[in-house]
């Protein structure tokens, strides 16, 4: 079993991280379009999307039976399935793999839920180190406004309601996301995350992201000649 560290596969792995409402998914979608246009073999993998684990996670969330430990472990199971069947083989094949959320999401959420920070890090130690991990830094108020304007409401676990922080979902969400933000800030130096100012105009953030990605793409395979 390999441990967290630089991989030597021909593929490249780019991940985006940040709290809900930081705009990371928008940026990843734009990067995806650009890389495809450039002729790279691009594959996208989303947090919490393994078909093998989906039913179990759904049941746990619906019945609100997840504890911090089982919440952490079921998400790690989901991640492991994607790592073993998706991310690793694709990196070996030379693909550009894009992940919307990666291990850092688990480190932030699980620690806020009270899990031991070293325990979670060791649990995910089978993960491959990304070629670059972008962290979209955004003030809590900006993120809150984006989320609450755009959605009808936040879900139970999303708002950290399982922690009993507040009776009000909105207030609970604010406290929970604030704590996650603190965890992300601690991880910036620990994991050498590439920080992007998520309050900048979307195009500016994208330009910056593309520059960094382009510089790291030397070995990745192009499926066809760029138009």
């Amino acid at each position: 079993m390999k441990r967290y560290g630089e991989h030597r596969f021909p593929g490249k792995l780019f991940v985006v991280e940040g709290i809900d409402g930081s705009g990371k998914s928008t940026q990843l979608t734009l990067l995806h379009q650009w890389l495809q246009g450039e002729g790279y073999g691009v594959v996208f993998s989303e947090w919490n999307s393994s078909p093998l684990v989906r039913e179990t996670t759904k049941r746990g969330k619906k019945k609100q039976m997840l504890t911090p430990a089982s919440f952490s472990l079921i998400h790690c199971t989901d991640f492991a399935d994607r790592m073993e069947h998706n991310i690793l083989p694709l990196l070996k094949a030379g693909a550009v793999v894009l992940c919307d959320r990666y291990i850092y999401t688990a480190f932030a959420r699980d620690v806020v839920r009270g899990m031991d920070s070293q325990w979670v890090r060791e649990l995910y130690s089978f993960a491959v180190k990304p070629t670059a991990a972008f962290y979209f830094r955004v003030p809590l108020d900006v993120a809150m406004k984006r989320i609450l304007d755009g959605r009808s409401g936040v879900k139970f676990y999303e708002a950290g309601m399982d922690l009993g922080l507040s009776e009000s979902p909105e207030e609970s969400f604010r406290i929970f996301q604030g704590r996650i933000l603190d965890e992300y800030e601690k991880m910036v130096p620990e994991f050498d995350l590439t920080t992007v100012d998520a309050t900048l105009p979307i195009e500016e953030q994208q330009t910056l992201m593309r520059q960094i990605v382009k510089a790291k793409l030397a070995q990745a395979k192009r499926l066809r000649v760029a138009p």
Partner: protein, 284 residues
């Protein structure tokens, strides 16, 4: 006070768990569930409330694991973590509440089987120990020990070879018999390592069900009465039974009869004495 192997889970109050956590460990087909079926009524007759639990029985993940194992896309790390999820759910929703209520919790396998399976499948030993670091240390772990040669006829004449119990996911090219033998030998070797590390109380599982039960019952009675562990209770490792290679070596040696006579066919007198004591006047 109860202890965990590493950091406890958030909200885990270790002081309140007054029940007893008793683990029955052993490989596939060794007779763990048969023994638990005998232990439970025996305990209940003495007025002890019993919870029995086993792997894959969690409300959260039991069904998911079953479904995942039916397909052919379950990776080794994923499988280990799925089991860990199932374990966490049972620990928090079954085992801990029962211990708080003063129950005797009989668990058919514990973290040790899950560790052995993961390690045999190539998992990093440190990684898997960390994953189960939140587990409660049991009051006792009884390991039903059997060698692969004694295990095979039992499995063949009861339920036959199973895909996962034969390790077909890791030795896919061989037939089920060869694969079973190879995989179970690896598992048993790992169990022996864990037995030392985690101080298992070893019970020879080769005699008939009744005899094994007498030994097990004596051990459980001792744990429940709070008496210290009798060091003579543990049985020496069967020479040449766990490791095939060892068997061959021993058999090639001149005059090996004394060496390979399984020590456990003559159970330690202390164990017998304890068994009789536990049973009272009847049946012996």
């Amino acid at each position: 006070m109860r202890e965990t192997y590493a950091a406890p889970l958030p909200g885990m109050n270790l002081a309140e768990m007054t029940g007893k956590l008793i683990v029955i460990e052993g490989t596939d087909g060794v007779g763990r569930s048969t023994q638990i079926r005998l232990l439970r009524p025996w305990l209940e007759q003495q007025g002890r409330a019993v919870l029995d639990t086993a792997i894959k029985r969690s409300e959260l993940a039991g069904k998911g694991i079953q479904q995942a194992k039916e397909g052919h896309t379950l990776g080794r790390i994923t499988l280990s973590l799925f089991y860990a999820t199932d374990f966490a759910d049972r620990l928090e929703h079954e085992i801990i509440p029962a211990l708080r209520a003063g129950f005797v919790v009989l668990t058919d396998r514990y973290i040790y089987s899950l560790m052995a399976r993961a390690i045999v499948r190539g998992a990093d030993a440190r990684w898997i120990r960390n994953a189960y670091g939140f587990a409660l240390k049991p009051d006792a772990t009884f390991y039903l020990r059997i060698g692969v040669d004694d295990l095979i006829p039992r499995v063949v004449f009861s339920r036959g070879f199973d895909y996962w119990e034969s390790g077909m996911d890791i030795h896919p090219s061989e037939d089920m018999y060869d694969s079973f033998r190879k995989y179970q030998t690896e598992l048993l070797t790992e169990f022996e390592r864990l037995a030392k590390e985690y101080n298992f109380e070893v019970i020879d599982a080769t005699p008939d069900v009744r005899t094994v039960f007498e030994h097990l019952r004596a051990g459980v009675a001792r744990v429940l009465s709070g008496e210290p562990r009798e060091p003579l209770f543990s049985v020496p490792a069967p020479v040449g039974n766990v490791l095939e290679q060892t068997t061959k070596k021993v058999l090639e040696m001149p005059g090996p009869a004394k060496t390979i006579t399984p020590v456990e066919e003559e159970p330690a007198p202390t164990a017998h004495a304890l068994a009789r004591a536990a049973e009272g006047d009847s049946n012996t």
